[in-house]
């Protein structure tokens, strides 16, 4: 074990875990004093190409699944969470010191099992398509959808629901006449009604109501979800013939869009046919829901869609009702393990604020764009179906994350794209942080980067010291449906040393993971921001933390709603609570690279001082990728020097950031908004709004210097912030 840095890195690589503290204070009191709770970022499906899944069932402690301390002679093992002694199952008869099963090897702190029992269900993709689009948009969307069909595995089930004023569920198995079931866009239907109306009640009448319909059964009975290979042509034709919503839209009105009912039908359909099976509802919308349940805004154009201003004034009449409606849907969907993606492409808001829970609770994606006819959407959508080295989709379904702790620890909660399963247990803390009160969470949609923040509480009493060298253990058990339809269980077991805060404070301090702590605290902040007023959250955060990056966090769209629409805020927050640590850091503090003739590209401070005429800047904020050409560079480019053979180097300079950006674009999901701008360009605002305004029109003295560009803002600069912070820190702490 070398440095903490390496240790942390190694842990992350191996287990996808980053703790805020790598030595744990041994008592509750001490832990509380540390302000930053014992917590971790956990990436359940961290890609581990080197980790072969084992083909057998995990051995379970009669009370829990544990990493065993094996007594080879006695053929029993003790669970190190509950200390129960368990015999090995018969299949372990051959183990010995030289022939250990994988879970007993130290390097296999993370093990993936493949569960053999139970039926395997095919992947299900249900497209829910808004037809109230411009012709051009609809065409692009249709193409994207048709393209996606070719990406699906042949045995995947697909379904199609289109909606506008009405909601149509298309039957895919029919020959000749194209059939679809139509629902009124204004009527809230419960799941039973929907299934009755779709004629899905008979199968349940035959089978046991509680049991999910067997796949083959369902495939034959459910005319709406059919294997791709069987209905490929049908569906392609169907999509091809898809028309814009034919109902006339009068002057001054929005088209009537029954998003709420469409989702309700989609959820109801899956609920009735494939409960507890991985499924993905993909909602494509080109505008806000304007009628029926889940309506976000009326169809009168003269009434604009709600803004933060309206919300603060409590002027958003549909907000609460719609949010409640979608939350109910999301919960239903989550219970059945179906995730919901939202692909919203419109210039105006589309109601993401209300609908965000659909994705947040079910682990679905949210993608926001201006138009379906942009590469942002097209490539993002394509990337949804990206595959890993084994040719499997980088997605998993129906995940259940269970956390087990040794008895000195308890689980306070989790923050991420999950819902509570309300599994009470001995290790549930009364002190909730995030989604608490449980040891199990359902994560309906998972991908390799999905990261949850988990918060723990040290419950060991001050007067019951832990013996020196004692270790606390945490085990993460993730059951999920792999994209190749296998059910798998990934078990990650973590152990950390206890440290006495009074005697070993330095050790504890040195074990502090600043980045992880920042992200974890940010998540807490965002989580609070979702439910509380912005300023309150900021104040809470200020009280809690004093670190550099907090300056940027305070300015980030995750906590600040200024200049952002409610939809954008929702969008940003959505991604913040699910990305891994690196990405999260980028979101909090964008990265700025500077390219110049004077040397290789170098990261520079996110400061207005970095904006220089002869530099090219590349800023990555996760959501945006901005290439900024300094004033001089821009002039040169305009003059066309790059096209001259003698200025080959200039051409290379121009090309360098483009290449780097391309690299980022290739991997990032969702596709960031790519901006290529220059000094004075209108889109330079993306850069200017992020940098530290060390020079503003307020401190004109800086004007004379040639160190950067002034920013027109009233925000305080980092310098001012730090000064202020120091004062506060001194006064508070001492």
């Amino acid at each position: 074990m070398t440095t903490y840095q390496e240790f942390i890195q190694q842990n992350e690589d191996r287990d996808g875990v980053r703790f805020s503290w790598n030595l744990w204070p041994s008592s509750r009191l001490e832990a509380t004093r540390l302000v930053v709770p014992v917590s971790c970022l956990f990436t359940p499906l961290k890609e581990r190409p080197d980790l072969p899944p084992v083909q057998y069932e995990p051995v379970l402690c009669s009370r829990a699944n544990c990493k065993a301390q094996v007594d080879f002679r006695a053929k029993i093992w003790a669970c190190n969470f509950c200390f129960q002694r368990n015999p090995f199952p018969p299949s372990y008869a051959g183990i010995s010191e030289v022939n250990q099963p994988a879970e007993l090897m130290p390097q296999f702190s993370t093990i993936e099992y493949i569960v053999q029992r139970g039926p395997t269900a095919p992947l299900i993709f249900l497209y829910v398509v808004d037809t109230c689009l411009e012709e051009e948009d609809l065409q692009a969307l249709k193409e994207s959808l048709q393209m996606s069909l070719s990406l699906l595995p042949p045995n995947a089930l697909v379904g199609l629901i289109t909606f506008g004023r009405m909601v149509q569920v298309h039957e895919l198995s029919c020959e000749g006449i194209a059939k679809s079931y139509v629902f009124r866009g204004t009527k809230d239907l419960n799941s039973k009604q929907i299934q009755e109306m779709l004629g899905l009640t008979k199968p349940t009448a035959q089978g046991q109501p509680g049991r999910p319909a067997a796949p083959q059964d369902a495939a034959s009975t459910c005319r709406f979800l059919q294997p791709v290979h069987r209905v490929d042509m049908n569906l392609t034709d169907l999509l091809g013939e898809l028309q814009r919503d034919p109902w006339p839209v009068p002057q001054g009105k929005r088209p009537l869009r029954s998003t709420g009912v469409a989702l309700s039908v989609a959820v109801g359909l899956l609920e009735g046919t494939f409960p507890n099976t991985g499924a993905r509802v993909m909602l494509f919308i080109g505008g806000p829901p304007t009628q029926g349940p889940g309506m976000v805004v009326g169809d009168e154009l003269k009434t604009p869609i709600r803004s933060w201003h309206d919300i603060q004034k409590d002027n958003a009449r549909h907000l609460k009702k719609a949010t409640k409606y979608y939350e109910a849907l999301a919960n239903r969907s989550a219970v059945n393990g179906h995730s919901i993606d939202i692909y919203a492409c419109a210039l105006d808001q589309t109601g993401l604020l209300e609908m965000k829970c659909l994705s947040n609770l079910t682990g679905g994606h949210i993608v926001m764009g201006d138009s379906f006819n942009t590469s942002l959407f097209k490539q993002t959508f394509q990337r949804v179906f990206s595959k890993d080295l084994n040719g499997d989709f980088r997605m998993a379904f129906g995940g259940v994350l269970e956390v087990k702790t040794s008895r000195e620890l308890k689980v306070s909660g989790a923050i991420g794209p999950c819902v509570s399963l309300n599994a009470k247990g001995s290790c549930v803390s009364e002190n909730e942080m995030g989604i608490g009160g449980t040891t199990q969470w359902k994560v309906c949609g998972l991908n390799p980067s999905t990261t949850l923040g988990l918060y723990f509480e040290v419950v060991n009493q001050h007067n019951a010291p832990i013996p020196q060298g004692g270790r606390g253990a945490i085990q993460f058990v993730t059951q999920y449906q792999h994209s190749n339809t296998q059910r798998r269980i990934r078990v990650t077991t973590i152990a950390r040393n206890w440290a006495d805060a009074q005697s070993q404070i330095q050790l504890i301090e040195s074990s502090f993971d600043q980045e992880a702590a920042a992200v974890l605290m940010a998540r807490l902040g965002v989580f609070r921001a979702e439910s509380e007023e912005g300023p309150d959250v900021l104040r809470w955060l200020d009280r809690q933390l004093i670190r550099l990056f907090m300056f940027h966090l305070r300015r980030s769209p995750f906590l600040q709603v200024f200049n952002n629409s409610p939809d954008e805020s929702s969008y940003y927050r959505h991604h913040f609570v699910r990305q891994d640590l690196t990405q999260s850091l980028i979101m909090i503090q964008p990265i700025l690279y500077s390219y110049s003739f004077y040397g290789p590209p170098e990261p520079v401070l996110l400061d207005s001082g970095s904006i220089l005429p002869d530099k090219i800047l590349l800023m990555d904020t996760f959501f945006q990728l901005v290439i900024y050409h300094g004033e001089t560079i821009a002039q040169w480019r305009k003059a066309g020097y790059q096209d001259m053979a003698e200025y080959e180097n200039f051409k290379q300079l121009l090309q360098a950031p483009l290449d780097d950006a391309q690299e980022i674009l290739q991997t990032r999901f969702p596709m960031p908004r790519y901006v290529d701008t220059e000094h004075g360009g209108s889109q330079a605002r993306f850069l200017l709004s992020k940098v530290n305004p060390s020079q503003t029109h307020n401190n004109l003295y800086a004007w004379g210097q040639e160190t950067g560009a002034p920013i027109l803002t009233d925000d305080v600069s980092l310098q001012v912030f730090m000064d202020h912070l120091k004062k506060l820190a001194v006064s508070t702490f001492f």
Partner: protein, 1295 residues
């Protein structure tokens, strides 16, 4: 008014009358006049008014209720005044003859009522048969008569009449052999009356006895009298003949009747006088109105109505006393005259009278009543003639009966001959009657005397028999009533019959019956002696040869059964509007007293025959149609232009309105606008306005309408083959959507929906390669899932539509879904129309009770135990209010619903029919539908329903002149207020019956005006206003009212009224109400318009003589009196179906047309026979048609050759009774029959499935159900029984 109306008719008549009258009658006239005046006295006596007043009234009567008056006169005199008084007795005889004549003529109707024969005879006979004058009544008939009688006949007739007259007067006894004696002894007459009562009383069934005697007497008398009178001997023979001939016929039929009649007759003989009087009375009444004039005209002087009426009146009452013989004679003439007048009534109710009056007037003026009386004696010759005429009239009656006398026809070839002969005598059309008549005539003319002779005997016998038998015949409960009634009927019937046939068939009939009865079994009224619908129909046909011109106010049009052409001269064609009364009472009191319903049956979009011009379309330009400022009536011929044409005064409300400048036109010297004849709205009764945008919903011109086909695809529908058939048919049918311009494509758009528990909409947009199905499962909250592509133009989407229709049967071939919805189906169509913002029509093809969970779900509530209880009405009320609300919404959108039902079990027709009925739609029902046998019918119905022209989103408003207003409406429509009839759809077959009530007094000068305006959207999407104007006369005398009624229309009203009544009252109450009202109508007539007579007499107004038989048919209908095997659905179906029927349809529906297929050579249809099993011959083939059903009845012993020709098989047993169409065989008979059948089908709005009924086959039970004159399996009374019952009711009212 009547006069005016009559005038047209009269003129022809008048002309002939003069000739006739002058020649033969002149003497009579004198005589008549005298008697009449004298009668008048009595008449007055009858009526409260003083005798003199009586005259005046009579005069009025003659014109109006001449028939009645005469009859009444005659009878009344006889009965009342004379009756008791010896002179009266004398009078009675006279009257008796008169009555006969009258009966035959005018009152023939009344009495005709009883004798079917009489009816027919009445008209023809009255006018024609009797006197040429009578003939005059009907122009043609007259001619014919003249021709036939011409020299000889006339003379003969005259002579006969004279004889009759004489007989009546002097020889009455002689006149009617049997009667004659009585007659001769006027006292007897009185005695008869008196006696009659006793005798009747004796026969407790006073009715039977009295009436019978009366009837018998009349019948016999007429026959006998006329004939008898002249030839004493003949009567006897005739009588014999009567007995002989009639007996057979009668025996079979109204065994009871004959007896009664016979008894009467017999009694008459013994009590000759009584019977006669009765007869006379009866006849007089009938004859009086029409007959009188005619008679007067025809007869020497009888022609002179005035004289007649008075004479008749006076005659009956007073004259008789003074101058027995004269009185008698006079009376007869008077009677005769009445008949004439009656004839006019019958023919053109009004026309005759006028003619009559003129004639009378002259006659009278020249010859004072007394003179006439005095003359009468001389006229006797003429009288006989008159009698004959009367007799002829009666003969007509008889003839009516005669024809019925199947025996003759069957057995005797003479029928044809006789028929033909009679025809000449009578208007001619009455073939069967003719025969009877002929026979009658024959006897009278030649055997005048004999018949009488015979009659008496027979009569006596009959009476005796009746007395004896009557009691038995009458059914339990009924017995007394029936017998009496029967008697009455008989009496009358026979009276008329005798009168007419007296000479002719009379004898035969009587003879027949008499004999038969004598023999035995006839205890009942002779069916042949009671008014025959066939006779009336045929008479009317014969009479209506000239185009009917609508210009004369208050003129009743020909019957619906008559083929005639119409010239619009300012009033709406009867094809559009028919009224129950063309002479409305002036005051509410009168209306209330008479109880005659004042109603009009309006068929706004009726299709006119090709030779009549459809209503012109008038465009008044931007400002829209010119209307009265106050009442908003549209410009019409009743608007009076004043002040040089600058203003016009509304004929309805009298408000003066400025004429807009662009419409100004100068007036000519008569005050008419110069451009009067250039503008349809100023000269025609029916026309259309182009509506402006102000008349449109939302002030927006309407979109072209749409048709939506909604097809049940549940298991039953698929299995029965319905789905397949509909889909196949629609492919071709779509080329025949209604259009106004045959050249252009229809602008009607179409849409398709299938459904079971859920609904499937189809997107058939032309640009699609394949249709798309959109399933809507949310039936609880129906909506339309698509807009674009649902309603399409056929030509643009033909490929897709055909593809769809090809695939629908396949798609649902394996369906196992048995549950259906219904409410949401209508909602779907409604929503679709709403979405498309247009009116339209839904065609729903449905199979079962909608039990699937959805709005409008129904439960099976069929409970036969409720039938007949007070709760029965609940079965006719829809379940819940859902469909009512839905119907309201449909109407608001102009969504008309046509329902094609294919039930295999109870479907709650009542509830399912709510929306169709309220939206002006139709319901078609194919119980136990099987593709093989019902396909043809269904497809033809469907084709017609799709193709027929119709209007959408219509509103009808009926405006009337001050004094009356439309108070009630019957039909398929919805009303949200009390005046606007809203029809989501209005097709060419739908009629609306409108009832009027007084809210003030009407004026005789202006008459009563009504304007029916229908605002609708044509099938090309044009907004239009169709206006029908109708003016009728007003009268202050009840007699006028009774002369100008139309029974068919009254029945239409009654049936609709009653069928609506079952919603709120037990059916028994409804039936009783009907009977009561009918009885009141007739009693009112009897009391106020007919001459006083024995209560035992049944006296019917000429134009209502069929009221009892038709009413009985209504009472016996499945709705009011269901047989055990009639399902609730069927009843509800009929109930709803009839609500939108026009008069033509109700007529044939209630009284089916039964044609013997014996001789199909001629291009015309064979003459129908009465709907009674007794008329069927084992050796014959008959076709029966009701507008809904079509039967081919094959007798068990039909000739092989005929079978070969018809079915291609020589054996009766090899006939396939399940065939629905006749084999196509290449022989004239087969061709002709198939042609007839196809003609029938073309005439009716519903396609009739042919059902072959083999005699004695089990299917004959169904067939028998439509023999409406017979007792029905459900307990409905036979015609004869009902007539007796009715008579009883009337008597009760009178007492």
């Amino acid at each position: 008014m009547n006069v005016n109306q009559h005038t047209p008719m009269a003129s022809p008549y008048g002309q002939p009358p003069p000739g006739y009258a002058q020649p033969g009658y002149s003497p009579l006239d004198g005589g008549y006049q005298a008697p009449y005046p004298s009668y008048n006295g009595p008449a007055s006596a009858y009526q409260p008014g003083a005798p003199p007043q009586g005259y005046s009234p009579f005069t009025s009567f003659p014109s109006k209720a001449v028939a009645a008056n005469p009859v009444s006169d005659l009878s009344s005199p006889l009965d009342l005044g004379p009756t008791r008084g010896p002179p009266s007795s004398a009078a009675p005889p006279v009257s008796a003859p008169q009555p006969y004549s009258q009966y035959s003529q005018g009152q023939g109707s009344v009495q005709n009522g009883p004798p079917p024969m009489t009816q027919a005879p009445q008209r023809p006979p009255v006018s024609q048969p009797y006197h040429q004058g009578a003939v005059n009544m009907s122009g043609p008939p007259q001619s014919s008569y003249p021709q036939h009688y011409g020299p000889p006949p006339t003379i003969q007739q005259v002579s006969n009449q004279m004889g009759g007259m004489q007989i009546n007067a002097g020889p009455p006894t002689a006149a009617r052999p049997g009667y004659a004696p009585p007659h001769s002894a006027p006292p007897p007459a009185s005695t008869p009356y008196t006696a009659a009562p006793p005798s009747y009383s004796q026969a407790p069934p006073s009715f039977s006895h009295a009436p019978l005697p009366v009837s018998s007497a009349p019948t016999q008398p007429p026959l006998p009298p006329p004939s008898n009178a002249p030839p004493t001997a003949p009567p006897s023979t005739q009588q014999q003949q009567y007995y002989g001939g009639p007996t057979p016929a009668q025996q079979p039929y109204p065994s009871s009747i004959p007896p009664t009649s016979q008894p009467q007759f017999t009694s008459a003989p013994p009590q000759q006088l009584p019977p006669q009087p009765q007869f006379t009375t009866a006849p007089p009444q009938q004859p009086p109105p029409p007959s009188q004039p005619h008679f007067t005209s025809t007869h020497p002087q009888p022609p002179q109505p005035q004289s007649y009426p008075p004479s008749s009146y006076s005659g009956p009452t007073q004259p008789p006393p003074p101058q027995v013989s004269q009185a008698l004679q006079q009376q007869p003439p008077s009677f005769q005259s009445p008949p004439l007048s009656q004839q006019p009534f019958s023919s053109a109710s009004t026309a005759p009278p006028p003619a009559g009056p003129p004639g009378y007037a002259p006659g009278q003026s020249p010859r004072p009543p007394p003179a006439t009386q005095g003359q009468f004696p001389p006229p006797p010759t003429s009288q006989p003639g008159a009698f004959p005429p009367t007799s002829t009239q009666s003969g007509q009656f008889l003839s009516g009966p005669m024809p019925p006398l199947p025996p003759q026809s069957q057995t005797q070839p003479p029928h044809p001959q006789s028929q033909s002969q009679p025809s000449p005598y009578h208007s001619g059309p009455q073939m069967p009657p003719m025969s009877m008549q002929q026979s009658n005539h024959m006897p009278p003319s030649s055997q005048g005397p004999p018949p009488p002779m015979g009659p008496p005997g027979p009569l006596q016998q009959q009476q005796q028999q009746q007395q004896q038998q009557q009691p038995p015949p009458p059914q339990p409960g009924m017995p007394a009533g029936y017998p009496p009634q029967q008697n009455g009927a008989y009496g009358q019937v026979r009276g008329p019959q005798p009168g007419y046939p007296g000479p002719y068939s009379g004898p035969q009939n009587y003879g027949g019956p008499a004999q038969a009865p004598g023999p035995a079994a006839q205890k009942r009224l002779d069916p042949d002696a009671i008014p025959s619908p066939i006779q009336v129909i045929e008479d009317d046909k014969a009479k209506s040869t000239e185009p009917f011109t609508t210009g004369v106010r208050g003129q009743a049009p020909p019957l619906v059964t008559t083929t005639f052409s119409v010239r619009d001269q300012g009033n709406a064609s009867p094809r559009f509007v028919r009224c129950t009364a063309y002479n409305m009472p002036c005051t509410a009191d009168m209306a209330k007293q008479s109880q005659v319903p004042l109603a009009a049956v309006i068929k706004p979009l009726a299709i006119l025959p090709p030779d009549e011009t459809p209503p012109y379309v008038v465009d008044h330009g931007e400002p829209g149609p010119i209307r009265c400022n106050r009442c908003k009536a549209y410009m019409c011929p009743y608007m009076q232009f004043i002040e040089g044409g600058r203003r016009f005064q509304c004929g309805f409300c009298s408000c003066v309105t400025e004429v807009p400048p662009h419409y100004f036109q100068h007036l000519d010297h008569t005050g008419k606008r110069v451009d009067c004849y250039d503008r349809p709205e100023l000269s025609l009764g029916s026309y259309e306005f182009l509506a402006t945008v102000d008349y449109c919903k939302n002030n927006k011109l309407p979109q072209p309408p749409a048709f939506i086909f909604l097809i049940d695809v549940s298991y039953n529908a698929v299995k029965s083959g319905m789905v397949n058939i509909v889909c196949q048919e629609l492919k071709t049918l779509l080329d025949y959507l209604p259009r106004e311009n045959p050249e252009a494509d229809s602008v009607v758009r179409v849409g398709f929906v299938t459904y079971n528990k859920v609904l499937h909409f189809y997107n058939v947009k032309g640009s699609l390669a394949q249709p798309q199905m959109l399933v809507v499962s949310d039936v609880s909250d129906m909506f339309v899932p698509l807009l674009d592509g649902f309603l399409v133009n056929v030509n643009e989407s033909r490929q897709v539509i055909e593809s769809l229709l090809d695939q629908i049967p396949d798609m649902f071939a394996d369906t196992r879904e048995t549950e259906t919805v219904f409410g949401p189906v209508i909602q779907a169509g409604l929503e679709a129309l709403k979405a498309a913002d247009c009116a339209g029509k839904l065609f729903i093809f449905h199979t079962s009770l909608p039990i699937a969970e959805a709005p409008g779900k129904l439960k099976n509530r069929e409970d036969k135990k409720l039938v007949g209880t007070d709760k029965e009405k609940s079965l006719f009320q829809p379940q819940g209010s859902f469909y009512n609300t839905l119907a309201k919404d449909c109407v608001a959108q102009g969504c008309c619903v046509d329902l094609f039902l294919f039930p295999n079990q109870y479907v709650d027709m009542t509830t399912l029919g709510v929306v169709p009925v309220s939206t002006g739609g139709s319901v078609y029902k194919y119980t136990y539908f099987q593709a093989a046998t019902d396909q043809e019918r269904f497809l033809n119905d469907l084709r017609r329903d799709v193709e027929k022209p119709m209007g959408f989103d219509a509103v009808m408003r009926v405006r009337t002149s001050t004094g009356i207003r439309a108070t009630d409406f019957f039909g398929s429509f919805f009303m949200s207020n009390t005046t606007d009839v809203e029809l989501a759809g209005l097709d060419c077959d739908k009629a609306i019956t409108v009832e009027f009530k007084h809210d003030d007094k009407l004026s005789e000068d202006t008459g009563a005006l009504m304007q029916c305006a229908v605002l609708y959207t044509s099938c090309s999407g044009q907004r239009r206003l169709r206006v029908h104007n109708m003016a009728v006369n007003c009268c202050s005398q009840l007699a006028d009212l009774y002369r100008n009624c139309e029974t068919d229309t009254i029945i239409n009203y009654f049936s609709k009224f009653a069928f609506r009544g079952v919603l709120n009252h037990p059916t028994k109450t409804v039936r009783d109400t009907l009977v009561n009202q009918c009885a009141q109508i007739l009693a009112c007539y009897r009391k106020n318009c007919a001459s006083p007579s024995s209560a035992g007499q049944l006296i019917l107004p000429e134009c209502m003589k069929l009221l009892p038989v038709y009413l009985n048919c209504v009472l016996k209908s499945d709705v009011l009196l269901p047989a055990a095997d009639v399902s609730l659905d069927d009843r509800a179906y009929l109930r709803q179906f009839i609500s939108s029927m026009d008069v033509t349809e109700t007529h044939v529906f209630f009284y089916p047309q039964l044609l013997p297929l014996t001789n199909l050579d001629s291009s015309s249809l064979p003459v129908a026979i009465r709907a009674s099993e007794e008329r069927l011959s084992k050796g014959g083939v008959y076709i029966l048609e009701t507008g809904l059903h079509l039967f081919l009845w094959v007798g068990a012993s039909v000739q092989q050759e005929l079978l070969q020709n018809l079915f291609g098989t020589p054996s009766f047993s090899q006939i396939d009774a399940s065939m629905t169409s006749l084999p196509v065989l290449d022989n004239p008979f087969s061709k002709r029959l198939r042609e007839i059948i196809s003609n029938f089908r073309a005439q009716r709005p519903r396609y009739m499935k042919l059902m072959v009924v083999k005699q004695e086959d089990h299917s004959e039970l169904i067939f028998r159900h439509f023999l409406v004159e017979d007792k029905s399996a459900s307990g409905g009374a036979s015609y004869v029984d009902f007539l007796c019952h009715m008579h009883k009711e009337i008597r009760q009212l009178l007492s």
